[in-house]
């Protein structure tokens, strides 16, 4: 769109300026959404009798270790934020990849849960196995379980046209109830009366980035208090893998082709069904990995904490805010990791419920989906209204288009 407008103006802009402008435009929408959400959030806090400045100061302290008033340790806050953002990157990729194929995976949460379950199950059953065997095994188990869970969605979509949004919602709840069954009176429960599973073997533990050493002092605290773990590197690797798959592999080309137009992809000789199923399998593997890493690095067992886990839903906001790109996902994950890290400090220092974070997240979703700014601009008479359907540019817009009917054509050709 940027290219066509400069061409229309008749004077070709220098390439660097043009690409900078394009980058600026790309960032404008997500940045505007975040600003909008924080302004609305401030209004909500103020209307209910709170002090928005104190709230946001505490939020920034909790998220980034800056502007702290309650004696918080900056290093520890940053470490917490990184622990929060690590699974968000992997789950964000799990949502973004299907977006590119025109599929809306709102089942990352369920895929993450079964990933955590599989990782824990393997980690308990082979607790005595040595780390070089057990650690890869638990992570692979998590990926396989997540892939299978999302694979159901892919197969149903490809074969019957069942809408992935509905099937992923159903599978999210099935995963949640399965988790409750397993650790409340079920086969993985540690003791009666506690909704936790047995711990995984020590060989399945993913180590922290800093040595587990009380004598080593980092940022004024012993190194052992920092929970930043190797999972961060795995997450960054996942984001890199996503970018590679999408832009440098023939699979990624097919994914993008299917996302743009199933019909065109079919005429080009691609199998839409195969692409849909493969996309979901890989997507589920990323989400399952997020769950497995969380168990292997942070929790070491399943707990009732996972009953109210929202990583897979936060990932939707991460993927949308990151505009479906690997870099964008990492930055969006930093934002949401900081929000979740900051929520607790906001509660303790400013007396504002940490749940404001969810309100902010919802507001970001509303504004990025509605693209308030652009839609309003389209209403201005000078700009005119001939600019196509608003949904066409956002990655999520693809899902409204062709679905069951297009797949029926596929059937006829095969």
């Amino acid at each position: 769109m940027a290219a066509s407008s400069t061409a229309a103006a008749g004077r070709p802009a220098p390439p660097l300026a043009a690409s900078l402008r394009r980058a600026g435009r790309a960032v404008a929408v997500p940045a505007g959404s975040v600003v909008f959400a924080f302004l609305m959030g401030a209004v909500i806090v103020a209307v209910t009798g709170g002090n928005p400045f104190a709230a946001y100061q505490a939020l920034i302290c909790g998220g980034f270790g800056l502007l702290c008033s309650g004696g918080e340790n900056a290093g520890l806050q940053v470490s917490n934020t990184i622990v929060f953002l690590t699974p968000l990157i992997m789950a964000g990729v799990a949502v973004a990849l299907p977006f590119r194929a025109g599929l809306f995976n709102i089942g990352a949460e369920g895929q993450l849960i079964v990933g955590a379950i599989a990782c824990t199950t393997v980690g308990i059953h082979f607790a005595a196995a040595p780390a070089p065997v057990l650690l890869p095994a638990v992570l692979l188990a998590g990926m396989a379980a997540g892939a299978a869970w999302a694979g159901i969605v892919g197969v149903l979509k490809a074969l019957t046209g069942a809408h992935e949004v509905v099937t992923t919602i159903m599978l999210n709840y099935i995963a949640q109830w399965l988790l409750r069954f397993l650790i409340i009176g079920g086969p993985l429960q540690l003791h009666n009366g506690f909704s936790v599973s047995s711990p995984i073997g020590a060989g399945a533990h993913l180590s922290t980035l800093l040595p587990h050493d009380d004598k080593l002092i980092v940022f004024g605290l012993p190194a052992s208090v920092y929970r930043v773990h190797v999972g961060l590197l795995i997450a960054l690797l996942a984001a890199g893998t996503y970018a590679f798959l999408l832009w440098r592999s023939s699979f990624g080309y097919e994914v993008r082709a299917v996302g743009q137009s199933q019909k065109a992809a079919r005429y080009a000789g691609m199998s839409v069904r195969r692409t849909i199923i493969l996309t979901m399998l890989i997507s589920g593997a990323f989400a399952g990995l997020a769950g497995a890493v969380q168990i292997a690095a942070v929790d070491h067992n399943l707990t009732d904490k996972y009953f109210s886990d929202t990583t897979g839903f936060d990932a939707i906001a991460v993927a949308l805010l990151g505009l479906g790109t690997a870099t964008g996902i990492v930055f969006a994950a930093i934002l949401f990791g900081a929000l979740h890290g900051g929520g607790a400090v906001m509660q303790s220092d400013a007396g504002i419920s940490g749940n404001l974070v969810y309100v902010l997240q919802a507001l970001i979703l509303f504004s990025i989906a509605a693209n308030f700014l652009r839609t309003l601009k389209l209403r201005l008479p000078a700009v005119g209204r001939a600019a196509g359907t608003p949904a066409a540019e956002a990655p999520a817009g693809a899902l409204a288009g062709e679905s069951a009917t297009a797949l029926a054509d596929d059937e006829g050709l095969a």
Binding site: T160, V166, L171, Y358
Partner: protein, 316 residues
């Protein structure tokens, strides 16, 4: 074998069906809302959030007003306002309706707990006395009918309201001009627009109705069945309602039958002492059944043609 015969006996008791009907109605109200909204072409996965908001405001209002009727009304308005956000974002701004629905649900979870912490201290909202709850209503004479009297005529007042609404929504959608227009807008908005029907106005109305109904269901849950609000108390019921809507193929009575099946499953589990299956495994059933229906094992379930597609005149 004994398990089956015991369930058979259970199915012959009026108490079981009484409980099943109440459980079904809780799901029926948001499911009806979903049917209306999606028939008009707006995908609605936000019933969970609207219901949760309704539940919270029902209790908050009841604590101040001491009147369950007014509080139920407040709950409906609260649900309706949440729906209005969904409508504005997805109709006026033509946002992705699924993202908007997810945002509504996240917003509801966040704002209810935020408000609790702001106004009621940490978690406890407070409990309401029985006199301030939505009452059970015994229909004179009819409640004396053996079996049927217990099942149908000794229910909470919301159950009667919901059953009347079921009939009304069915008649509205399939027997009135307005209903025909709503369905036309959901199937082919361009054609409806050409015929002089106001697509936007009908869609706004339909989405807001889904909020009113979901809010009422929230009130039934919080100040009818329960007597307080706890965070996330809807616990996925709005999503089961969504499942019921799909299971029932986007029709009011189809959705009602699905709600009855789900409610009956719950009631059988609650009232038996024989089945030693974990309640958590049973809780999966509605979702598994819906997946089976979606897989086409029990006949295809097709949404309205324009469901989920924002209407932008002049773009084609």
């Amino acid at each position: 074998m004994t398990v089956l015969s015991d369930i058979g006996h259970l199915l012959l008791t009026a108490d079981l069906w009484h409980a099943a009907l109440a459980a079904a109605v809780l799901l029926l109200l948001p499911a009806l809302g979903g049917v209306i909204s999606e028939r008009s072409g707006v995908v609605n996965i936000a019933m969970e959030g609207m219901m949760l908001t309704g539940a919270f405001f029902a209790v908050a209002a009841d604590l101040i007003l001491h009147d369950p009727w007014l509080s139920a009304l407040v709950a409906m308005v609260a649900g309706g306002l949440m729906a209005l956000i969904h409508a504005v974002v997805s109709i006026r701004f033509r946002a992705d309706q699924i993202v908007s629905g997810i945002a509504i649900n996240i917003f509801a979870t966040g704002i209810t707990v935020f408000l609790i912490n702001r106004f009621y201290g940490l978690q406890d909202v407070g409990h309401l006395p029985p006199s301030e709850l939505l009452p059970n209503l015994q229909i004179p004479l009819l409640d004396q009918i053996p079996f049927l009297g217990r099942v149908l005529f000794q229910q909470n007042v919301i159950v009667y309201v919901a059953l009347i609404l079921l009939l009304l929504v069915h008649v509205l959608l399939f027997r009135t001009r307005l209903g025909l227009r709503i369905r036309a807008v959901g199937e082919h908005p361009e054609a409806a627009d050409t015929a002089g029907i106001n697509v936007y106005r009908l869609r706004y109305g339909a989405v807001i109705s889904s909020g009113l109904l979901s809010g009422l269901s929230g009130a039934f849950l919080a100040i009818g069945i329960s007597n307080t609000f706890v965070p996330n108390m809807t616990d996925g019921r709005g999503y089961i309602a969504l499942a019921a809507m799909i299971f029932g193929k986007w029709t009011p009575f189809g959705a009602f039958i699905a709600c009855l099946i789900f409610g009956l499953g719950q009631a059988i589990y609650d009232n038996n002492s024989i089945i030693h299956v974990s309640q958590y495994l049973l809780s999966m059933l509605p979702y598994i059944l819906t997946l089976v229906v979606l897989a086409g094992v029990v006949g295809r379930s097709q949404p309205p043609a324009a469901d989920g597609i924002p209407y932008a005149p002049g773009t084609e």
